[in-house]
Structures are given as structure tokens and as C-alpha cells.
């Protein structure tokens, strides 16, 4: 037989470092000072100014005027006046036109909004550019279409708005959460008082400019920055008809008890500890992508993050090898660089919480693996981290870390996967990876989670309802189900 040449090992490959490709901060047109948006005007609030910090540099970005309890009162009064005045009198199709205008306004200022979001929040520019801002615009487009079709929402022939809505949103998706809250509320005919998060108020105030440019009648939307006390004043204000809150389970619980017996409507979108379940017949390379996207998207600051990986024991080693290799290619650093995959943690407090919670993983005997990526010498950064050998009893398997930390558990049978996945007080989301269609359907009905992704993770679309149950809250956002949170069924079913 002819001798066959072996395959020699190659010699020297190219040392190829991607040159920095930073987006220009000037595009954000960040101003020194931002004011709150109340009754159609940008005005100074009576609260103490807050300073928003760029978490990637720890340098102050802008000062922001905040609201006092009296300002909340003025805003609720303005929203009530707008609700009883022009907004209710307006034909639904006209209301829809405003929403279309806002959607276009977001799209037109997309690049600016992405830069502001990244500077204020610390998330990578590629995420704010490719996910946050376009999805925010899509939410307004989607709900604009609903405004004059509410009779077909499945809530009776003439569902009515609730009135004035108080909304409190978190810092992980500042613009997108504002869109998720404002768009359905307006489409359904409500007026809004919204409080953005203390550490990320800027894009909501740029959105206020877009609302003003769209000619939205005064008082229909009011945006009041501030800390927890402003949120508390807002959700407890007797002049509002409904509260929508996205944030921690702890605060959600306080709001629910404050509202008990008041007759005011409430929807809560709270924490989660989602299981991402990988079966041995899964498309493994894409499952690895889904695991990475599930926990490292937005530095893991995602309430529906796939923070618990449940992998079938027969493929656990292979999946973990591939996963570590893939995580090593993630580029952590300057969020403004277009090639950055993992940006900065939003605040020093959150960084400390992530550090403390992951330390309990070491103490309780899990094996920590940290991505070898270099960390910048300033800013709040936490490297992608994987804990293997995690058991259900450890804190890192139970507590929401809200950071780039993955806990890996194994299972042997589908029943065991379901039992472990459901063994959490939360119930927001889950992921299932298998090429077997019947198993996807079986798992989806057995998992106690509001959202179940099959062979993908962290996909958001305005047409799909999002929300959880148990300690992850109640009520849905997006899709037809999301409209129910802002409408009173004419059959009187809705409180």
C-alpha cells in the first residue's frame, strides 16, 4: 500500500488582536444635567439631584433632578387631567398614530439612545444597539397596531382602560423596560407616571424628549427620576388606578402588601432562577451558545437569565469542556467597544452582591472556574464564572445572583430534570435543549415557568407574552395577554 502522508501540525499562526473599535461617546450628546418630565414640560424636581455614574469608568456622567413626594402628587394630578381630558376623548386610531410616531422617533435616534444606554448602564454597545433599542421601538410599533383593535383582544367587545398607571422599572434594561411599560399602557388608553431606576435614568429622559417631539398631549406620560422613596410614594399614591412594577421580589412583596385591599390593579415582574436544561440528544454546539447567551447576556443582569444549567450526566463533561472553551472567547472590557461581549456591572453595590454570593459557592464546596479574560483596571467588572458540582442546597443554586455567574447541576432522567428545575420559589423562565419535539412539549407543560424557550434562550419579541408566577410575580407583558394588564374587561372580570 502507498504510504500516506500524515497531517503535520501547523507552524505559526497569525497573532491577531482586534484593534479597539469604540463607538463615539459624542453621539450620545450627554448633557451635564437632566430634568424630569412632568405635564409636558422638562422641570426641576424638588428632590435632591442624583449623579449618574458610568460604571465602566466610575466617572460621573450627568446630574439628574429628582422628584419629591409633592412632585409625584403633581404628576399623578397631571396624568389624571390628561386621562379625563384629551386622551380619553381621542379616537383610538389617533392614539395609535402617537405610538407609531414614538416608535419612529426611537428608531431615528437609535444610535444616540444606544450610546446613552451603554454609558449609563455599562452594557456592551452591541447589545444596546442590536437588542435594547430596536426591541424598544418594536414594542411601540406592535402596540400602536393594537390601539384601535382592542375589541379583538379577547376581553369583550369594548374593554376600557384602567386610568392612571404608576410604573416603576429596573436598571438592567432601562429603555426597553420603559417601552414595555409605556407602550401597552398608552395603546390601551391609560396615562402614565413612570419612575426609572436611580442608577440609569438617562435613556428614559431621552425617551421623554421623543414623546414631547411626537406631540403627545401634556401629562399623558410623566417621567420622574428618583430613588426608592419616589417609587414608594408613587405606588402608594391614592390617585393611581394600577401599579406595574419590575424589580426585586422583596420590593414586589412590599408593594403587594401596601396595595392589598385598595382595589388598585397590580402586575409584578420579579426575580428568577431559571433552569436551562440540556438533554443528551440536544444540538450541543447551539446549546453551548444558548447557555452563554442565557447567563452572560447583559452581564447576567436579566431576571429570566438561565442561571442554573441542568445538564444530563451522560454529556456533562463534553458540554462543560465546550462551554469553558466558548466562554474563554468572550471579550470583556470597554462597553463602548463594538467587539465587547461582556460589559460592566451596573453599580458598585451590585458588584459587591455578586462577589459575596459567589463566595458562598466556594464555601459550600462548588468548584469555581473563571474565564481567563483580562479585567480592566477601573470600572465595575466581574469575569464570567462557572460553578460546577453545584447541588440544590447551595445558595448559588437558590438565590438570584443577577450577574455573570452560572451554576451547573446534573440530572439523569427527564423526571429528575423537572423536579430540580421546579425546585425554586421562582417561576419566570426555563430553557429546554433537545432535538426531540415530544420532549419539548412534555417539558414545557411540566415546568413551572411563565416562559419556556426550546432550543434557544433570552429571545424577546413584542408579540410574545412575558411574565412569571409564584415569586416571579404575575401579569404578562407583550402579546395579547399583555394588553389585559392595562384594560378593564367590560364583563367586569378584571378588578
Amino acid at each position: 500500500m502507498t504510504a500516506i502522508a500524515p497531517h503535520p501540525t501547523p507552524g505559526s499562526a497569525l497573532e491577531w488582536d482586534y484593534a479597539p473599535a469604540p463607538e463615539s461617546a459624542a453621539i450620545g450628546r450627554i448633557r451635564d444635567r437632566y430634568r424630569m418630565y412632568l405635564d409636558g414640560d422638562f422641570v426641576d424636581g424638588q428632590g435632591d439631584d442624583l449623579t449618574s455614574v458610568n460604571p465602566a469608568t466610575e466617572e460621573p456622567l450627568a446630574t439628574v433632578s429628582t422628584a419629591s413626594a409633592a412632585d409625584v402628587d403633581r404628576a399623578v394630578t397631571a396624568a389624571r387631567r390628561a386621562y379625563e381630558g384629551p386622551w380619553s376623548a381621542m379616537p383610538a386610531a389617533e392614539r395609535g398614530k402617537y405610538l407609531f410616531r414614538i416608535a419612529r422617533g426611537i428608531a431615528e435616534r437609535a444610535r444616540e439612545l444606544a450610546v446613552v444606554e451603554t454609558l449609563d448602564n455599562g452594557k456592551p454597545i452591541k447589545e444596546s444597539r442590536d437588542v435594547d433599542v430596536p426591541t424598544a421601538s418594536a414594542h411601540f410599533f406592535y402596540h400602536a397596531g393594537w390601539a384601535d383593535k382592542l375589541a379583538h383582544a379577547g376581553l369583550g367587545p369594548a374593554p376600557r382602560p384602567l386610568g392612571v398607571v404608576g410604573q416603576v422599572i429596573p436598571w438592567n434594561f432601562p429603555l426597553l423596560m420603559a417601552a414595555w411599560k409605556i407602550a401597552p399602557a398608552l395603546a390601551a388608553g391609560n396615562t402614565v407616571v413612570l419612575k426609572p431606576a436611580e442608577t440609569t435614568p438617562l435613556t428614559a429622559l431621552v425617551l421623554a424628549e421623543i414623546l414631547a417631539d411626537a406631540g403627545l398631549p401634556d401629562g399623558v406620560v410623566n417621567i420622574l427620576p428618583g430613588a426608592g422613596d419616589v417609587g414608594q410614594a408613587l405606588v402608594r399614591h391614592p390617585g393611581i388606578d394600577k401599579v406595574a412594577f419590575t424589580g426585586s421580589t422583596e420590593v414586589g412583596r412590599q408593594i403587594q402588601s401596601a396595595l392589598a385591599g385598595t382595589g388598585r390593579a397590580l402586575t409584578l415582574e420579579l426575580g428568577g432562577k431559571a433552569a436551562n436544561i440540556v438533554f443528551d440528544d440536544a444540538p450541543l454546539d447551539q446549546a453551548v451558545e444558548g447557555i452563554v447567551n442565557g447567563i452572560f447576556f447583559n452581564q447576567g443582569h436579566v431576571c429570566c437569565a438561565g442561571s442554573r444549567l441542568l445538564v444530563q450526566e451522560s454529556v456533562a463533561d463534553e458540554v462543560l469542556d465546550k462551554l469553558r472553551l466558548r466562554i474563554s472567547t468572550l471579550r470583556l472590557g470597554d462597553p463602548m467597544d463594538k467587539n465587547t461581549d461582556v460589559g460592566a456591572v451596573n453599580s458598585a453595590e451590585q458588584l459587591q452582591r455578586i462577589t459575596e454570593l459567589s463566595a458562598t459557592g466556594d464555601l459550600e464546596g462548588a468548584q469555581r472556574w473563571t474565564s481567563p479574560c483580562p479585567l480592566p483596571d477601573r470600572g465595575y467588572f466581574f469575569p464570567p464564572t462557572v460553578f460546577s458540582g453545584v447541588t440544590q442546597s447551595m445558595r448559588i443554586a437558590r438565590d438570584e445572583i443577577f450577574g455573570p455567574v452560572l451554576s451547573v447541576l446534573t440530572f439523569r432522567t427527564p423526571d429528575e430534570a423537572v423536579a430540580k428545575a421546579n425546585n425554586t420559589p421562582y417561576g419566570l423562565s426555563a430553557g429546554v435543549w433537545t432535538e426531540k419535539g415530544s420532549r419539548i412539549l412534555g417539558m414545557a407543560s411540566a415546568l413551572r415557568a411563565g416562559v419556556v424557550w426550546a432550543n434557544t434562550f433570552n429571545r424577546f419579541d413584542p408579540t410574545a407574552a412575558f411574565g412569571g408566577y409564584r415569586e416571579s410575580g404575575f401579569g404578562r407583558e407583550g402579546g395579547r395577554a399583555g394588553l389585559a394588564a392595562y384594560l378593564r374587561s367590560d364583563e367586569g372580570a378584571q378588578a
Binding site: P10, Q286, T456
Partner: protein, 361 residues
């Protein structure tokens, strides 16, 4: 025969002194023959686990079928999402210049037309040696790729240049001929001086599930062109699914192909980013299991510098930086080279020139 790596190219771009002597195989050349004598691969280096599953896979037809069908599936949505994500990498300044020179050194400059003549091949060979005479420091391309009857012309023109002479063979592009004819085709190309052979697999046999037949043909071609590097064209556009692309790639790797290559360029779709990514994943997985480096060649449809850079990003991040080497990655292309040269001038001179500033061949 000459298995020397192409000269110039990335070896010239990279840090000097890195890497072993290219002509010396780093792995022992043991031939771990299995039943039927079909599978030939070097014995694993010390420290690498011996992969019993891989040697069992080629024992007989049903083992091979079981192995290929047992490969993990590919979810198209997830694959295409990753490919689209990698395509958003922003490669600028010096990293772009590096990428352009690397891409030039990876081009298999190709002409595969019925109208090809010795004159056409001569001018292509001249371009391959010196792609841009006006610019100093432009690397030569990796190889020129022609039909077997024009190999002699190319070999004469490229003698001593370090540029390889690749020839398509095995009844290219359809592969619809008797094995004896295919092997004769290969031998004529080898006898005329080809240093690399680009064969096509029998897609009919593959789609009919006769994996063993495809395997045996690749092995036979490999023996017929011993000493030359063998590129196995999967013609992914005819395979229909990414699962099939992965199976065909593993089949080619098991049979000893040096390269897995996407397409003939005669079928659309040809090379796409997701398909190239499947092949890159296959060679990376192969390396993880055997310690061997195998190569990838997307061909057809890559026409612009931007496309080429996107492929290089995928090489870097899916297979790994070791594959940023013309020995392990090639572009099968004709018009790509001129766009790379134009972009190279733009990067160096700071302004655009135009198509008339590069040679038309």
C-alpha cells in the same frame, strides 16, 4: 512528494521563529490500519487519549452509519444566530491590514471554466506569484486551482515560487463517473505536477445513505494522490441540511482528507458563514479528539474583503487562532483577490483607488 507549506503568507506575517519546521510532521507517521486497511491516521501523540470510538467508527458500513448518525444535531436557528453575531465584529486599522494580508495568502486563485486556456492560466499564475506588482510586501497567494489538463502549464509557471498547484479532479464538479475514471483523473493531475487535489464526494451515494461507499472513494483518492494535500469538496449546497454537512465533514475527516471544502462553486448556495462555521467546528472537534490539525476551505461566493474578514473572525473564534494560517484555511475564490488588493491600498494610502488600479487577469 512535496508537502511543504506555501511560502510567504501568514508564516511571514507572524512572529519570527515560531513553530516547527513545516516539512517535518509533528506527529509520528504510524499507520494505524484498521480492518479493510481503509483508515489511515497517525498514532496519537503521547498525552492524547486514544479515541476508540473513532477507530471503531470505520470498522464497517453499519458502524460508520451509526457513528455519523450519532453526531449531535445542529439547530439552524442557533447556528445562524452565532454566525450573524460573529459577522458584527468590527475589524479596523492594523487588525484589518493583518486580516487582508492573511486573506491574500490564503487564496486558492481559481479558474474553472470551459474556456480556460494556457494563456489564461499563465496570467493567473503570474498574478498568484505577485498579486500587486505596484505594492511592496504583498504576499503571494496559497495556490492556483485549475482543471487537470492545465496543471502542467500552472506547474511550469509556478515552479520554485512556493505557490501550490491545486487541481480539481474526480469528475469535477458532479462526481458522476466510475471510480476508475475518477482515479485516472486524479493520477493525471498528479503526474502533471499538482501539489494539491480537490476532489468531490459522491453526493448521490451520501444522500442515499451509502456512507461506506463515499468513505472508500475518498480513501482511494487519497492513495492515488499520496503525498499531495487532499481537499474533499462536500458540495454543501446539495446536502440540504447542516446535520448532513456535519456528517459529511466527519466522513471526510475519518477518511483522511486534509481539507474539508464547502463547494465546487458551480452550485448555489456555495460557501456561507454558517456552513463554514460547521466545518470549522468539525476540525476543532477533530483536533480536540485526535490532536491532529485538519484544514477548511470555503469556496464560491466569497467576493469581498468584508466577507473574507468575517470568515477569518469565525476561524479565530470557532476553530481557534491556530487556524489563522494558510496551511489550515483557504479561500477558494477568483474575484476576491482584487477586492483584497483594493482594500489593502485603501488601508495603506488612506483613500480609495478603483478597479483599474489592480490587474484584470
Amino acid at each position: 512528494m512535496d508537502t511543504a507549506r506555501p511560502q510567504g503568507g501568514a508564516a511571514a506575517l507572524a512572529e519570527p521563529g515560531a513553530g516547527p519546521d513545516a516539512t517535518t510532521p509533528a506527529l509520528p507517521a504510524g499507520t494505524a490500519g484498521t480492518a479493510g486497511g481503509l483508515q489511515q491516521r497517525p498514532a496519537p501523540s503521547p498525552g492524547l487519549r486514544t479515541d476508540a470510538e473513532l477507530s471503531d467508527a470505520t470498522r464497517d458500513d453499519s458502524s460508520l452509519r451509526r457513528f455519523l448518525r450519532g453526531l449531535p444535531g445542529i439547530d439552524p436557528v442557533g447556528l445562524e444566530q452565532r454566525a450573524a453575531g460573529l459577522a458584527t465584529r468590527s475589524i479596523k486599522k492594523n487588525s484589518k491590514l493583518q486580516a487582508i494580508d492573511l486573506a491574500i495568502s490564503m487564496v486558492d486563485l481559481t479558474t474553472l471554466e470551459g474556456a480556460d486556456t494556457p494563456g489564461k492560466v499563465r496570467s493567473l499564475a503570474a498574478k498568484a506569484r505577485r498579486p500587486d506588482p505596484a505594492q511592496p510586501g504583498v504576499p503571494s497567494v496559497a495556490a492556483v486551482c485549475v482543471y487537470p489538463d492545465l496543471v502542467a502549464v500552472a506547474a511550469e509557471q509556478l515552479a520554485g515560487s512556493g505557490v501550490g498547484v491545486a487541481s480539481v479532479a474526480t469528475a469535477f464538479p458532479s462526481g458522476r463517473a466510475a471510480l476508475a475514471v475518477k482515479l485516472a483523473d486524479v493520477r493525471s493531475a498528479v503526474d502533471a505536477g499538482a501539489t494539491e487535489i480537490d476532489m468531490v464526494i459522491d453526493r448521490g451515494a451520501f444522500l442515499a445513505g451509502r456512507f461506506g461507499e463515499v468513505f472508500d472513494q475518498i480513501v482511494a483518492v487519497r492513495q492515488a494522490c499520496a503525498g499531495r494535500r487532499l481537499k474533499v469538496i462536500l458540495e454543501t449546497g446539495e446536502l440540504g441540511t447542516y446535520d448532513n454537512v456535519r456528517r459529511a465533514a466527519w466522513l471526510a475527516l475519518l477518511a483522511g482528507g486534509d481539507f474539508v471544502k464547502t463547494s465546487t462553486g458551480k452550485v448555489s448556495p456555495a460557501a456561507t458563514l454558517p456552513v463554514t462555521q460547521v466545518l470549522l467546528q468539525a476540525v476543532a472537534d477533530w483536533h480536540a479528539r485526535t490532536g491532529e490539525y485538519r484544514a477548511v476551505k470555503p469556496a464560491g461566493g466569497i467576493r469581498t474583503t468584508k466577507d473574507a474578514v468575517r470568515h477569518l473572525v469565525a476561524v479565530n473564534e470557532v476553530a481557534g487562532p491556530a487556524w489563522l494560517d494558510p496551511y489550515l484555511f483557504r479561500f477558494g475564490a477568483s474575484s476576491l483577490l482584487n477586492d483584497l488588493l483594493l482594500q489593502r491600498r485603501t488601508q495603506r494610502e488612506g483613500h480609495y483607488s478603483g478597479p483599474d488600479y489592480v490587474t484584470v487577469d
